[in-house]
Symmetry: C2
Subunit: 396 residues, 2 copies
């Protein structure tokens, strides 16, 4: 196969000046002074910083109001307030998960994200309607955007009979991962809830990604039950715990014992690094060999006004939340929305090496830390070998 595109004159995060040749959607070669073969399309990188396409590890594309009139948030403070408010609002508004997920996925691409894991609401009101919308978005973008779908019981698993059958249907219909939610504090029965979740996952041979908001000691208790099941069922390397706020609040000795088990069972953690809630420490996770990666959670929906499809902003927030200031530490925050997220989610052929999928981002920035704090418009975004955005705007 001939090389089809050559990106010239870019800098890697370690300061090397390189060209990148792309063929068949892959990086064919990366290094200084690559040959300009006849007929190849040249993109002048103009001394930009070269980064791998970003990875969003946890969002809710189906919930977003991105691009619509502003949603005025007048919601009460409890988790159940937010769940009930969303249910009411959907019934009134005719929310279209397909159109909305497409709008937000395109905004992610524009800002340099080429792989993404999204949790999609499955409940007895909506059935599989949200899943169908997001599956349509995935299909529409299949040539350039790598999307994993988590079948997520937003209203809980045990409280609404029939939810397990819907999750079963969602996994059969194309969801990649089984979701779950607060087995103790939402479902009220952590053993029954986890047992049902693990049996569903095992039946479909799918990984699990569970929302665990449960705080402190109750979260630690639930997490312990979950880890028991990972060990007993041999699901090492197939489970993600999203949020895991409890790990931010426990005494260090108890936290470290859980981190050691997480590392041993290769259970990864996902953080959005919210500034107002205790969160797992990035440095503590690294010290214990626990994989911690990053995501937005919802973006401009009935839950939250915040969030951005710009994963450089999420890297900045992760770094700020962890009190990181040194350039080498900011690079660790970037890993959370790039290589580590790809590894945790199982996105293949990721990175800036020959053979990897050609997912590339160019920005005008002196260094990686500069890119994170300045978040400049993306000069060029390449996804699966194609230019999908230029100067901050989609080209297709």
């Amino acid at each position: 196969m001939t090389n089809t595109t050559l990106i010239t004159n870019v800098r890697t995060a370690d300061g090397a000046r390189v060209d990148v040749s792309i063929a068949g959607g892959r990086i064919a070669a990366i290094g200084p002074g690559l040959a300009r073969e006849p007929g190849v399309h040249i993109e002048d990188g103009a001394d930009a910083l070269l980064l791998p396409g970003f990875v969003e590890g946890h969002t809710h594309l189906d919930k977003t109001n991105w691009g619509l009139r502003w949603y005025r948030n007048e919601v009460g403070p409890k988790l159940t307030d937010r769940i009930e408010n969303e249910r009411r609002w959907r019934a009134q508004s005719g929310h279209d998960a397909g159109a909305q997920s497409l709008a937000l996925a395109r905004a992610f691409m524009e800002a340099g994200t080429t792989r993404l894991r999204t949790h999609v609401d499955i409940d007895t009101d909506a059935g599989l309607r949200h899943l169908e919308g997001v599956l349509a978005t995935r299909h529409a973008l299949r040539d350039v955007f790598d999307m994993q779908i988590v079948a997520f019981p937003q209203s809980g698993l045990l409280g609404r009979p029939g939810t397990d059958a819907l999750l079963d249907g969602a996994l059969a219909a194309g969801a990649d991962v089984l979701g779950a939610l607060d087995p103790a504090l939402i479902d009220g029965d952590p053993v029954a809830s986890l047992d049902l979740t693990f049996s569903l996952a095992q039946r479909h041979q799918k990984p699990i990604d569970i929302h665990l908001h449960e705080p402190g000691e109750v979260g630690a208790f639930t997490l312990g039950l979950l880890l028991d099941r990972v060990a007993a069922l041999g699901m090492q390397g197939q489970v993600v715990v999203s949020h895991a706020f409890c790990l931010g609040a426990l005494p260090e000795r108890e936290r470290d014992a859980l981190l050691a088990r997480l590392a041993d069972l290769r259970v990864a953690l996902l953080t959005t690094a919210p500034p107002s809630v205790a969160v797992p420490s990035l440095k503590a996770c690294l010290e214990h060999g626990v994989t911690l990666f990053g995501g937005n959670d919802g973006i401009r929906d009935t839950w939250t006004p915040y969030g951005s499809p710009d994963m450089l902003e999420r890297a900045m927030l992760i770094a700020m939340r962890n009190g990181l200031r040194r350039d080498d530490d900011l690079a660790l925050a970037f890993d959370c929305v790039s290589s580590v997220a790809a590894r945790a989610c199982g996105f293949e052929a990721y990175g800036l090496q020959a053979g990897a999928r050609a997912d590339l981002v160019l920005v005008d920035a002196d260094t990686l830390a500069h890119a994170i704090v300045a978040r400049p418009p993306r000069k060029l975004v390449v996804a699966n070998g194609r230019v999908v955005a230029r100067d901050g705007a989609l080209v297709q």
Copy 2:
């Protein structure tokens, strides 16, 4: 005086559609359907959201590397590491506080800030050199930018003999406010340090703005000593405590007792709302009648890679740090970088009413909360009645 500019067709944060007429640098009138007088310059607001010019309550213009090559942060974790590192770096780099403060002040204007309080380093190495640079910036921008200068002993007051004389000289040379730094943990003698600070302020009849990073109980102890002096010397309404991290970490009863004293003595608090440190709660301050306003702290300097001259971003970070999601709560975070900051710093004629200085910002946003989370480019910035920026770029 005739009206010189009419901004038509804008929306206020409460949804009213208004025009704004400007004359002599002031808002002459604001309301629906104002008359288009002959000869008046018309700016079509095109349905933009109208906001008052933003207020930066605490930054360090003299320290910034804004616009220079990226500064690679390899600094150790302690406050004294950062102080010593900055001292070494300045000696090597020939840092120009005048040029740097001008570059950053212009970036603030571009993003809609028209009033700003900056702490300027005064120490026995630099003498008044930084002050002279920032005074030159203030002079250069005097027609459009309202700048308060705090004479700030970055290396402490007691440890380097001669610092008090330099602060005395700085206040005589044009500094508006006397700064101070951690009387216990940096100066080692909170009583002597505070007594010297208050006597200097009294001699010059200047207000005080003290950096108080001291955590928990030691910070509470120092804060108590400070409040004793405010009461004894009749300096109610003339003191700001910046950071006041201790108030984020104390037991509620102890915290509330201090908040009650702060309210009683009209001592205001400044927060940058860092995500990784305990901070005073915005809601608790409001409940106790304590003035809490917002600022960046340093921006891209040897201390920190973070910070932005966009005060909408700071409002977002304050809101996120306080766990605010509702639209009415996000408006409180905006107050911290607008009306409340103006009141706390003593910036006069502030606001969106006839007679106020015409400092205005237009953005394309549905609502105030939308503006805070989306931080769109500023369509128009008016400072002291003049258009200073358009479509995100300075016009002068």
